[in-house]
């Protein structure tokens, strides 16, 4: 085979393989929309389940996921942004910095079910929070830290050095420079990372299995020490634990969860693209 033939063959095979990667993604999304769209109605989105979950809606699960996502943001955001500022602006090239970076890499790799075990041992039992929104938010918040830290650090690092030099030369202190010059310019990037991290948290099941999720709660949560239903866990139980569950409701629940996480991913992507286009340095 001549090298031109090899080139042609390689190019065809590579394109075909790429088709194998990308087409299933489209198929999955389209299939889920096609199967699930029929279930979605105003009632489905705003009513609690009825009749052993086989009728009614999924509002308590949607609300639970929104509450958990907000709780996750409250836990994760201050810690992650502070850590990112430390790494980008203060950390020297030393052992401590390397250890912190290593810790973040490892946090990013820990399986979500192991976060669930940690949340159970640390927050539910040792801290005495019980199975609660607080325990679940802490668990999910810690889980999202690596994503938020690394995107925030990248955003802070992308602010040009001259901005800092000018601010410092005008007599501003280091922290004033960070607060008034660096962070405002890095903010869109930080928000992007935050939303990406939260979209992951919103879709996670394993970390909330033992820390917060309830199969069915008759009332909506009123305090951070309450259990709550959540969409990912709800999908898991209605797909596997409830006999005779109408498929339509299962697909509808999966579609709602997908739409919530994809909307967040989309917002993050749009913010990032808009910022890159508008950036004037």
């Amino acid at each position: 085979m001549s090298r031109q033939q090899t080139q042609r063959l390689a190019s065809v095979l590579i394109t075909l393989t790429a088709v194998l990667v990308f087409v299933p993604v489209i198929v999955v999304i389209v299939y889920l929309i096609w199967q699930g769209i029929g279930a979605i109605s105003w009632e489905f989105l705003t009513q609690p389940p009825r009749n052993g979950m086989t009728e009614g809606g999924i509002w308590p699960a949607i609300l639970g996921t929104l509450i958990l996502t907000m709780g996750t943001a409250l836990v994760s955001m201050p810690f992650s942004i502070a850590t990112a500022i430390y790494l980008a602006e203060y950390a020297g090239d030393n052992r401590l910095t390397r250890t912190i970076r290593m810790a973040i890499v490892n946090l990013a790799g820990i399986p979500s079910i192991v976060y669930g075990l940690f949340g159970l041992g640390a927050f539910v039992l040792a801290a005495g929070f019980g199975t609660s929104i607080l325990a679940g938010s802490l668990t999910l918040g810690i889980m999202t830290m690596p994503v938020v830290i690394s995107t925030a650090e990248e955003a802070i690092n992308s602010v040009p050095q001259q901005f800092r030099t000018v601010s410092l030369s005008l007599g501003a202190s280091k922290w004033q420079t960070i607060w008034h010059q660096v962070l405002p310019h890095a903010l869109p990037g930080i928000i992007t990372g935050m939303i990406l991290g939260l979209s992951r948290a919103a879709g996670e099941t394993a970390p909330i299995l033992f820390t917060v999720a309830a199969f069915y709660v008759p009332t909506l949560p009123t305090s951070i020490f309450d259990q709550t239903m959540a969409l990912p866990y709800h999908l898991y139980v209605i797909a596997t634990q409830v006999p005779g569950m109408p498929l339509k409701i299962q697909y509808g629940t999966a579609l709602v969860l997908l739409l919530i996480t994809l909307t967040m991913t989309l917002i993050a992507t749009v913010v990032r693209t808009a910022v890159r286009r508008r950036r004037d340095w």
Binding site: V21, L107, G109, L117, L168, K174, L209, L235
Partner: protein, 308 residues
């Protein structure tokens, strides 16, 4: 900490305020180390009894019957290994080739459609993919001639697609980091595009590609809800051979997820499940540590903005 340019000494209050803020920021940074240590300690505290109370012969035996108090981890280790190997066989070629396609072959307009598609794939919750695997993919596999659709292979297929975003985006970065001159040089001396990629670009990007694969494997080992739904959850030792991919298996992660809800806190079963968590933690720790050593976490990420 850099102290090259100290702020003016005439502002003592401001300095104290700044010291406090900087202290808080330092504590936040150090807290990441503390969290990793705490996770390890809690897993150890709750799981240590499994390793102390169960004879090692039984712990690594091939029978997992918690109801009879028999906790042999072998079926779970084999289940995780099978699903992981299958996923790697599927995902590594697909991921690397997709990265090559995106980086070297795809026209610009197509790339701008396909890259968001990867982010969408990464954004699909694993429970949603697991659900589709359970209601749609497993019946397809059963119709294709398997005894059941819930097999190690079904799990591998699902996990392969879940790990593709990791593998593709990291290997694409690695390919992108190969200097333009390498390609120009190869093409200039008459190599075809494929020869350039195969003989020049891929070897140059090798360490990045290895990291992509390792982090992909890390994702596969730790994935829970997908495998819980589609692998059939049978803690048996499959007979050795290619057929073992088409039997139901049960992974370590799925075991924790399925059984933790039913065990009494402090019981031996409870400790064993934490012990499995500890093993998973150590496996992913080693995988990530190795990957980080390969990049040189300390050296590669030089400070862009921190030289104040």
């Amino acid at each position: 900490m850099d102290t090259a340019q100290a702020p003016p000494e005439s502002l003592p209050n401001r300095r104290i305020g700044e010291r406090i803020i900087e202290g808080v920021i330092l504590v936040a940074g150090i807290s990441t180390i503390l969290i990793v240590a705490l996770i390890f300690l809690f897993l150890l505290k709750e799981g240590i009894n499994a390793f102390l109370d169960i004879p090692l012969r039984q712990l690594f035996g091939d029978r997992w019957y918690p109801i009879e108090g028999i906790y042999g981890l072998m079926p779970l280790l084999v289940g995780t290994t099978l699903v992981t190997i299958g996923a790697v066989i599927i995902a590594v070629p697909l991921g690397l080739v997709a990265a090559i396609y995106l980086g070297e072959f795809a026209p610009q307009w197509l790339r701008e459609i396909l890259k968001p598609l990867i982010e969408i794939l990464a954004g699909i919750p694993s429970i949603v993919l697991g659900f589709l695997g359970w209601v749609a993919l497993a019946p397809l596999i059963q119709n294709a001639g398997a005894d059941t659709g819930l097999t190690a292979f079904t799990g591998s297929l699902l996990l392969a697609y879940m790990s593709l975003p990791t593998i593709i985006s990291i290997s694409e970065d690695a390919l992108y980091a190969v200097p333009r001159e390498y390609r120009d040089g190869a093409l200039a001396i008459g190599a075809t595009q494929w020869q350039t990629i195969w003989r020049v670009v891929l070897p140059a990007a090798r360490s990045g590609l290895v990291i992509a694969v390792m982090l992909g494997i890390g994702r596969v080992i730790g994935e829970t809800m997908g495998v819980l739904l589609v692998t059939g959850n049978a803690a048996n030792m499959p007979a050795f051979g290619p057929g073992m991919f088409f039997n139901p298996v049960r992974t370590m992660t799925a075991t924790i997820a399925a059984e933790m809800g039913e065990v009494a806190q402090g019981s031996l079963h409870y400790s064993v499940l934490f012990g499995i968590g500890l093993i998973l933690f150590l496996i992913t720790f080693v995988v990530n540590w190795l990957a980080a050593r390969l990049v040189g976490v300390s050296g590669a990420r030089t400070k862009v903005g921190g030289q104040v």
